[in-house]
């Protein structure tokens, strides 16, 4: 049960990152907020997998971490002026 409450607290921290994602004055601010949000979602998925004793949530967290890394790299390459 403690893992479920820990997941809720990480979700509140993720809501703070979402607020920066909406408010962010410049594009790199939003990318930083998105990167933070991805890390928090991976942590929440691992804690939820422990809360419900389902290993499949942790497998999805691995795939989500790798895919969000690729997304961050592509946004960064677009931001620095094309894929040069």
């Amino acid at each position: 049960m403690i893992f479920f409450y820990a997941t809720l607290m990480v979700g509140v921290a993720a809501l703070l990152a979402v607020a920066r994602l909406i408010l962010g004055p410049s594009v790199p601010d939003r990318v930083v907020a998105l990167d933070t949000l991805n890390t928090l979602v991976v942590a929440a998925m691992i804690l939820l997998g422990a809360a419900y004793s389902r290993t499949i949530y942790i497998d999805i967290a691995i795939v989500y971490a790798l895919l969000s890394y690729i997304g961050t790299l592509i946004i960064a390459r677009y931001l620095q002026g094309g894929l040069a």
């Binding site: 920066r20 790199p28 971490a65 790798l66």
Partner: protein, 121 residues
């Protein structure tokens, strides 16, 4: 007894994840926000995974169900994936922000830009 270890790890994890999110709101520009958010959330996630691993090994010792061994190993794999990709992504964001013209707050001289231009000429 082992529950207190799990509680301590979870407390550290939640505290550092919150500090990472608060850093996004308290710091003035992109680079300091990146510094606070990336370091704190990576450290917090390390302790979240440690709590899950301790819980899974404890349940494996209690019940003998191999599902819990699988849970511990996959959590460690997720942590390794996060530890390899997070600093690389942060470096890419910082370099892209600098190349697209964002300076740190209060900066007067951009020595890195001058050095890069000097290298090209």
């Amino acid at each position: 007894m082992i529950e207190y270890v799990i509680y301590a790890f979870l407390t550290i994890a939640i505290a550092f994840n919150f500090l990472g999110s608060i850093a996004l709101h308290r710091f003035p520009d992109v680079y300091t926000r990146l510094h606070g958010a990336t370091k704190c959330t990576t450290f917090g996630t390390i302790f979240a995974v440690l709590a899950v691993v301790v819980h899974a090994l404890n349940m494996l010792h209690k019940t003998g169900n191999p599902k819990y061994l699988q849970m511990a190993l996959h959590s460690v794999v997720a942590l390794v994936a996060l530890l390899l990709t997070n600093p690389t992504g942060a470096h890419a964001i910082a370099k892209a922000a600098h190349l697209s013209g964002y300076l740190p707050k209060g900066a007067v001289v951009d020595a890195y830009l001058l050095k890069r231009k000097g290298g090209e000429e």
